[in-house]
């Protein structure tokens, strides 16, 4: 069961990654070109149909994978970076450093995060760079808690004591000695976090506060679809399926990694 789901996840994921890399070769049309003067259902000519402006949905979907994956990767990178740093400092030093950082985490967790992200997006100009940064800045708390826990555990081990005894600087112990041993759970959290980031990007773009048209993202394709639910349901079905498959495969891979890392 597990093995199957991990393989399935990896297959789908590599498929989407290849699709994103080779988007110009795969997509039959320019994603922003207005090709038809009407909205057409899926056909041999337009595999996924055309949207309200007569653009080819298949081409848009292919290019959309670039956006979703990039946003996912960059946002998670930011979140893991901040989370690891905060968690490591809190866990290693303890005391007031720990208290200060963890209270800040509490503050961040007391926001309904989507509302916070929406507010920041509305105040800045919503565009793809801000989307990545804002999602990263608002989703590091889980990683911080996790890393803190790991550091609390690891700092008591005798090899850390030995490192202290031979006079290693705290920075060296934190990054060179402890971090590699805390990497497993961080990678798992990163994989699952990427799934979350992709979902958040799609909600933001759906509400019109994410990736802006004419750039195609799966989320903003769904925003366009909402108004044509009655006449062009295919516009809503396909981008959603793509988000679903990407996120699902990330969850599968993340859970598989969790098993390898060995926590539960």
């Amino acid at each position: 069961m597990r093995a199957i789901s991990v393989k399935f996840g990896l297959c789908i994921l590599s498929f989407f990654v290849l699709m994103a890399i080779f988007a110009p070769l795969i997509s039959p049309y320019d994603p922003s070109a207005i090709l038809e003067n009407d909205t057409f259902a899926p056909s041999a000519q337009h595999w996924f149909g055309t949207d309200d402006l007569g653009r080819d949905i298949f081409s848009r979907a292919v290019y959309g994978s670039r956006i979703s994956l990039t946003v996912g990767i960059v946002a998670v990178f930011i979140a893991v970076l901040i989370g690891t740093l905060m968690g490591a400092l809190a866990g290693y030093f303890g005391g007031w450093t720990d208290n200060l950082i963890m209270r800040f985490v509490d503050v961040m967790l007391a926001f309904p995060s989507i509302f916070l992200i929406l507010a920041i997006q509305a105040m800045l100009t919503p565009n793809i760079y801000n989307v990545m940064i804002v999602i990263g800045l608002t989703s590091w708390m889980g990683v911080a808690r996790l890393v803190r826990g790991e550091y609390l555990k690891i700092r008591e081990l005798s090899y850390v004591e030995a490192a202290k005894a031979i006079g290693c600087s705290p920075a060296r112990i934190i990054f060179r000695h402890i971090l590699p041993n805390a990497m497993g759970p961080i990678i798992v959290a990163g994989t699952l976090g990427m799934a979350g980031a992709i979902l958040t990007e799609s909600s933001l773009s759906f509400l019109g506060m994410g990736v802006q048209p004419p750039m195609a993202s799966w989320g903003n394709m769904l925003m366009d679809a909402q108004a044509y639910l009655l006449d062009a349901p295919w516009m809503a079905v396909i981008p959603g399926m793509l988000i679903f498959l990407t996120v699902l495969s990330l969850y599968f891979v993340g859970e598989g990694l969790r098993e390898v890392v060995g926590e539960g």
Partner: protein, 325 residues
């Protein structure tokens, strides 16, 4: 216990202050101010200056913040820029609709998730467990707004069974029963969307918690004593497996609120979430602050309640002697 509650209440004060400070400064990050959005470009500059000074927008941000804080502590959250109504009134008008959705789906979620997680754990590795696992992952991977759209597409657009948006049918006949039924029909889609979303993650937790308990010695003892399996599962195991779930429930409150913002927007549900999204689009500062603060208070209180419930379900946990992690 009492001192624990008191301590936690005191701890939540800096958290709420932090939330208010952070959101206030985030809002004022933006260049320009809200007057730019909803005044006629032709309005004369002196008039504009008068509006700005009325709203206190001409003062330094830090002064504005303390001015806001001073008023907020006295229960005055200012007036909405759009309607001129007090923010508190405007939110309180919308809050019941949101709570109705949230509480209904919360109860339904609990009613489904606990048995599902328990059976899944008991039947570990069997087809039922596998089906539940696949279903949970599928649920976690589905974007809430898309699920909402698909349900709307199927049940309102294609089948025409349920109303797609809103809370009441304006044409509904008078009469208590008719109104109630009408409301329930409008609730089905948003509540289903919310429930399916929170259900899936929780079921995984419930299953994991149950599996852990089932592996413990006292369960083996109970079985060895010859107790019926039903009693072992539901009396001995479940009580212990509920403990982690209580915490997860508390921690999932922000997600529940986040979900409300999106779900209310899709289904045009006249609640606080939709009000909040609109307030953001209109840069309605006082209203945004009011909603952020109310959500934060509810989230902090929810976590506190979860901790108290934690002690209540698990007699081994007794708070009070500086025992916090």
């Amino acid at each position: 216990m009492k001192s624990f509650v008191l301590k936690r209440l005191l701890q939540s004060i800096p958290i709420l202050l932090g939330v208010s400070l952070l959101s206030f400064f985030i809002m004022h990050l933006a260049p320009g101010d809200p007057t730019a959005l909803f005044t006629d470009p032709n309005v004369n500059p002196t008039e504009l200056a008068r509006i700005r000074s009325n709203w206190g927008l001409d003062k330094p941000i830090i002064v504005q913040y303390f001015y806001w804080l001073g008023n907020a502590l006295r229960g005055n959250f200012g007036s909405s820029y759009m309607t001129g109504m007090p923010v508190v009134t405007e939110i309180l008008e919308r809050l019941p609709a949101t709570l109705l959705l949230m509480i209904t789906s919360f109860i339904i979620t609990l009613m489904i998730t606990i048995p599902l997680g328990v059976i899944s754990a008991v039947k570990k590795g069997k087809w039922f467990d596998n089906a539940v696992t696949v279903f949970s992952f599928a649920g976690m991977a589905t974007p809430s707004f898309w699920l909402g759209l698909m349900l709307m597409l199927l049940f309102s657009v294609k089948l025409g069974w349920l109303p797609a948006v809103g809370m009441y049918d304006p044409l509904a006949k008078d009469g208590w029963m008719v109104r109630c039924l009408d409301l329930m029909r409008h609730m089905i889609l948003p509540v289903t969307t919310m429930t399916l979303l929170s259900l899936t993650g929780l079921t995984r937790y419930q299953r994991a918690a149950m599996l852990e308990v089932l592996n413990q010695d006292f369960i083996r003892t109970a079985r060895a004593k010859g107790l019926p399996e039903r009693i072992v599962i539901f009396k001995h195991a479940l009580r212990n497996a509920l403990i982690p779930i209580v915490t997860i429930l508390g921690l999932s409150l922000p997600d529940l609120f986040g979900g409300a913002f999106i779900i209310e927007t899709i289904f045009a549900w006249p609640g606080m979430g939709r009000l909040g999204v609109m307030a953001i689009f209109q840069r309605n500062y006082p209203l945004i602050m009011g909603i952020v603060m109310l959500s934060a208070v509810l989230i902090v209180l929810g976590n506190l309640l979860a901790d108290i419930a934690y002690a209540w379900v698990d007699p081994r946990i007794r708070y009070g002697k500086g025992d916090e992690g």
